[in-house]
Structures are given as structure tokens and as C-alpha cells.
Amino acid sequence: MSKKAFSILGIAVILISLVWIIMTPILFSGVQADTNTFAVHKGFQAPSFTLQTPDRQTLSLSDYEGQPVLIFFWASWCSVCKRTMPGLQSVYEEFAPEGFEILAINTSFQDSPTNAVSYFESQGFTYTMLLDQDGSLSRDYQLHAVPLSVLVGPEGEVVDVIIGSGMSEAYLRAKLTDIYRERD
């Protein structure tokens, strides 16, 4: 390519980019307008739900307004879930006095609730267990695999979504420290 041809091409590309950058705020506004939409993704509002505990007490996500909540989907046949849950317990004990709650949602539509309850009780977990009997919540939360962890901030906004073992004790502690630091 000759020097002249390259110069013309280069300047043209630079000018197009510059005009595009200047036009972006005018043509494509609506930045961060998603905070009122419900979706299981960072930045959106966590979809609301109402479920029952094994002893038939009814709880809703909205009961925990103003508090950070970890929604943790699990099954008793899932070994990764069982490896993760004791770690959650120790963070729970640490942060529960400050209002933190864990809703451990058993995917009962593909699990045996009896097995799930006996496992949960045998481990001495003190956070809240809920049953997703018909799988409707799992559908709403686009559950592709367990464990699925959805960390919800005090304003009801999704802070983090992790599939698999990533919601470890250390990671959850770091995230909660962040949330409480921002609030103070």
C-alpha cells in the first residue's frame, strides 16, 4: 500500500471512530437503565419468590429487604453442593448477627425431599432451607446446573451469580465484607 493510500485509509478510520464515539451518547443513551428490570444477572433486580420451608412455613425474598441474601440452589445428590455448604455455614455464623441470610433452596422437583432434609439436619446447618417443589423458581432463575449461587445486595440487586463451586467460604466472606463496607 502506498504512503498516500495508507494515510487516507488511516485518517478515514480515525474520523469514523471519532464521530461514532461522539454520537454514542446521543444515539445510544439509556445507560444503566436496567436497574428496575428483574433478571438473574449482575446489576438487575433479583426476581421475587415465595417458597415453603420443610415445616411448611412460607417465606418470601421480600421478607429480607435491606439485608444481603445468598440464594443457594442445591440437591442432596450433588457432591459439589455438599462440599460448598459447610463453608457457607461458617460465614453465616459470622455475618448473621449483622442481618445476612442464606436461603438454601433444595431443587426438590429433582431430589428426594426426605433425603435432603435429613442431610441438612445431620450437618447442623442453621441457615434457612426452602423447597422448590414444582421447579418453578429454578425455571425463573434459569437454573442450568447445581450449585447455583446468587448473591443479592441490600437493595435487592443481584451482586454476583456463580455456577459451581466458586461461592467458597473465602469468596463469600470477601463479598460480604465489601457489601457491609459500602453500607457503612
Binding site: K3, F6, S7, G10, V13, I14, S17, L18, W20, I21, M23, T24, P25, L27, F28, G30, V31, Q32, A33, D34, T37, F38, A39, H41, G43, F44, G87, S90, V91, E94, H144, A145, I162, I163, G164, S165, G166, M167, S168, E169, A170, Y171, R173, A174, T177, D178
Partner: protein, 413 residues
């Protein structure tokens, strides 16, 4: 969106799988490319590996430094294999720095090595967009366009697909231009890397406009501004390297003759002097004809370094002219009054008019390497960065060559 990939009974997280796959495909292409270019593939791979390890470790260290409370209950968690506890920007920064320092220590030539890495960077860029598409990150603004995708409760611009389409167009151009990674495709080293840098910058500027979650600096998106800087840098580097010639480019030329060498070698040099500066001349060396075993006849070889402003193409024409004027017949391989070969052209690595530069013979034959050591003891191979000593150690040519002294009217052993 497809956050999980199911292969038989196995469920794999799509994002991580795609990123690792793009890294492997990119590495494989870079290794293949490096073999064809003659760059130091092993060292380039080693520096990438070192960069990856340093990057991963520092990404974890960065996370811990930022969130010291993470280890409060269980200090062993610092070694846990979860990908969530990583500070990726710190990791990328340290990883690149480590790879760069290692490459410097190993004398890897900057621009040819970066050219070799261009396909890797393009594959990683594609991998990031594809994995974001898989998990619904970097989602677009709502749109009514027919190709909008259903994501997070709206029909949205498929921003990551826009980027992949634009990247594919550029990538096809590169595949065509490099003859499917057989050559570098440009006469100036660094052009391939710099144009890829500009292309990635341009694609970022264009596609970030459609992103819903912008990071604003004033009115403008941070990533658009970064993309624009990459575009400017890429174009400026191509322009300054390709079109702003330094005063004189250094070129090593090998001279050979088996007909009246005592007359033809000095004559060729004096004709070269008509259009270039002679920067250095080696002694004359005598050896058996190694390329076309012509029996008893001996070859006389000499190496010179010239400074020239001529383009590679023009320089080759001038050399052909000198060969012709001194009586060389192109189809006669046995009787060679004078043979002039360009060994290196500046520090560039390219393939042009059927010739590879640096000349592959540069690391094959004693009659070139030995005079080169005499002429330029600090020489390093422009493509691989290996020193003249290493080139000599790796030679497989066991022909004898003999340094000759110049006396009046001829040479003498």
C-alpha cells in the same frame, strides 16, 4: 445464552471452556506461524507460559490484597482452585509484564515476535466475546431490530456477535494476506501486529456503543476511549515504522564467485558503492561449492554490510543488474562470475518475490556464518534473536572453509 456445555454426561462451564479453548487454538496457530516465519517458537511459547503462570498467581494475590478478609476463617483458601477469587486486570498486567521481561532477557526480537503472536491475540479477543455471549455478560441495549436476541427480559443487541462478525472479516483478510499463516504478509515487521491492534481497537469502538452497561468517563464510555487509543497507536506505529524511513537501512549481502573472484568480488563491491554506503567488508573465504556440487571448482565468498535507502524490491533489481553486467547467466549454475544474495534487510522478517528474508542459508552454511562472525561479532538473527555463536554451534555444514588474505592481483591462503 448457553452457560453450560453438555458433552455426554459431562457438564462444563461454557465461559471457562471457551476461554481455554481459544487460548489453545491461538497457541497452536502461533506455533505453526512461528515455524513458517523462522521466529523462535520455543522461546515465544515459554514466555507465554511464564506470563500465564505469573498472571494466574498475581491475579490471586491481587484478589487477596484487595480482600484480606477472605482468608480470615481459612488461610488455606489462598490455594483454592476456584476461578472466582481472581483479580483479572492485575493478573493480566503482571502476566504481560513478566512475559515481556522474559522475552527481553532471551533477546527475542520485539516486532517479529509480536507479529507471530498476532493470531493468539485475535483468538483470545474472539474467545472473550464468545464466552461473554455464552453467559450473557456485556449484554446490549434493548432493540426492536429483527436480529435482537432475547436476554435479561428484553430483545437486545447481540453486541458480542457484532464484534465476532467484524473480527471474522478482519481475520479472513489476515488469513488471505498471510497465505493461511505461511508468511507474515507485510514487508515491514510489526505491521501485522499493529494492524491487529488497530482492528481490535476499531471493533471495540464500534461495538461498545450498543452495550447497555457502559463505564462512563464524563459522557463517554471508558472502553470506547481505550479502543480509540489502541486504534491511534496501531495506525501511528504502522505509519512511523513503514513510511518514515530511517536515514539508511542496514543490509547484509553475501557475495560469491567461482570465476575470476580476485577481479569480480572487488568489482561488485565498487558497483554497490555507487548507490549505497559500504559499512563493513569481511575477508574472502574459499570453500567447496556446497549447494550444487560442481566437482573440483572452488567458491570464493565474502560478506558485506551496506547502508541503503532503497526498498527491498529496488535493491534486488540493482543486485540483479550487477550480476548481469558481470556476465552471470541465470541458468548456468556451474559458472558463476558473481552471485549477490540479500541475507537480511534491516531487522525485518518477510517473504517476498519467492525469497525469505532473513535468508534461510544464514543459519545453514559456514561460508556465510563464518564471514558474518568476522564482520559483525554481535550479530543476532533478526527473526529468532539467537546470537552468531549459537548459530555456529547449531551448524550442520561440515565443509571446510579457508580464510584468504588479499594480496595484489589476487588472494592467497
Amino acid at each position: 445464552m448457553f452457560p453450560m456445555i453438555n458433552i455426554g454426561p459431562l457438564s462444563i462451564q461454557a465461559a471457562g471452556f471457551i476461554l481455554i479453548a481459544s487460548l489453545f487454538i491461538g497457541l497452536w496457530t502461533t506455533t505453526y506461524f512461528s515455524k513458517n516465519l523462522g521466529t523462535n517458537g520455543d522461546m515465544i511459547e515459554n514466555s507465554i507460559l511464564l506470563g500465564l503462570i505469573a498472571g494466574l498467581i498475581s491475579a490471586r494475590v491481587g484478589f487477596i490484597l484487595q480482600n484480606p478478609s477472605a482468608l480470615a476463617g481459612n488461610p488455606k483458601a489462598v490455594f483454592s482452585l476456584t476461578p472466582s477469587m481472581l483479580n483479572s486486570s492485575f493478573g493480566i498486567f503482571v502476566g504481560l509484564l513478566a512475559a515481556f521481561i522474559f522475552a527481553q532477557k532471551k533477546h527475542l526480537p520485539l516486532w517479529p515476535s509480536l507479529d507471530t503472536l498476532a493470531p493468539l491475540f485475535l483468538f483470545i479477543f474472539a474467545g472473550i466475546h464468545l464466552s461473554n455471549y455464552a453467559i450473557g455478560n456485556g449484554y446490549g441495549l434493548p432493540t426492536n431490530l429483527p436480529w435482537g436476541i432475547q436476554l435479561w427480559n428484553e430483545s437486545r443487541h447481540p453486541v458480542n456477535l457484532y464484534a465476532l462478525v467484524l473480527l471474522s472479516i478482519y481475520f479472513l483478510g489476515i488469513v488471505f494476506h498471510t497465505k493461511t499463516f505461511k508468511t507474515i504478509g507485510f514487508l515491514k515487521s510489526g505491521t501485522l501486529f499493529n494492524s491487529s491492534l488497530a482492528a481490535i481497537g476499531f471493533i471495540t469502538v464500534i461495538t461498545r456503543a450498543f452495550i447497555a452497561e457502559k463505564i462512563l468517563i464524563g459522557r463517554f464510555d471508558l472502553w470506547q476511549l481505550l479502543g480509540f487509543s489502541m486504534l491511534l497507536l496501531g495506525i501511528a506505529l504502522i505509519y512511523s515504522r513503514k513510511y518514515q524511513y530511517k536515514n539508511h537501512i542496514s543490509v547484509f549481502i553475501s557475495l560469491g564467485s567461482n570465476q575470476k573472484p580476485d577481479k569480480n568480488l572487488p568489482e561488485a563491491i565498487s558497483r554497490l558503492e555507487d548507490f549505497s554506503k559500504i559499512r563493513g567488508t569481511s575477508s574472502v573465504y574459499k570453500s567447496k561449492d556446497v549447494q550444487y556440487e560442481t566437482g573440483s571448482s572452488f567458491f570464493y565468498n565474502q560478506l558485506i554490510e551496506i547502508g541503503t535507502r532503497l526498498s527491498y524490491h529496488d535493491l534486488r533489481l540493482k543486485l540483479k543488474n550487477i550480476e548481469k553486467n558481470l556476465g552471470r547467466k541465470p541458468d548456468n549454475k556451474k559458472t558463476v562470475p558473481i552471485d549477490l544474495d540479500i541475507l537480511t534487510y534491516d531487522n525485518d522478517v518477510f517473504f517476498n518475490e519467492g525469497k525469505q528474508i532473513p535468508d534461510p542459508n544464514l543459519i545453514k552454511y559456514k561460508y556465510i556464518v563464518i564471514p558474518l562472525k568476522e564482520l559483525a561479532p554481535d550479530f543476532r538473527h533478526p527473526a529468532s534473536g539467537i546470537s552468531i555463536e549459537e548459530i555456529i554451534n547449531q551448524l550442520k555444514d561440515d565443509h571446510k572453509i579457508q580464510m584468504l588474505k588479499e594480496v595484489e592481483n589476487g588472494f592467497e591462503a
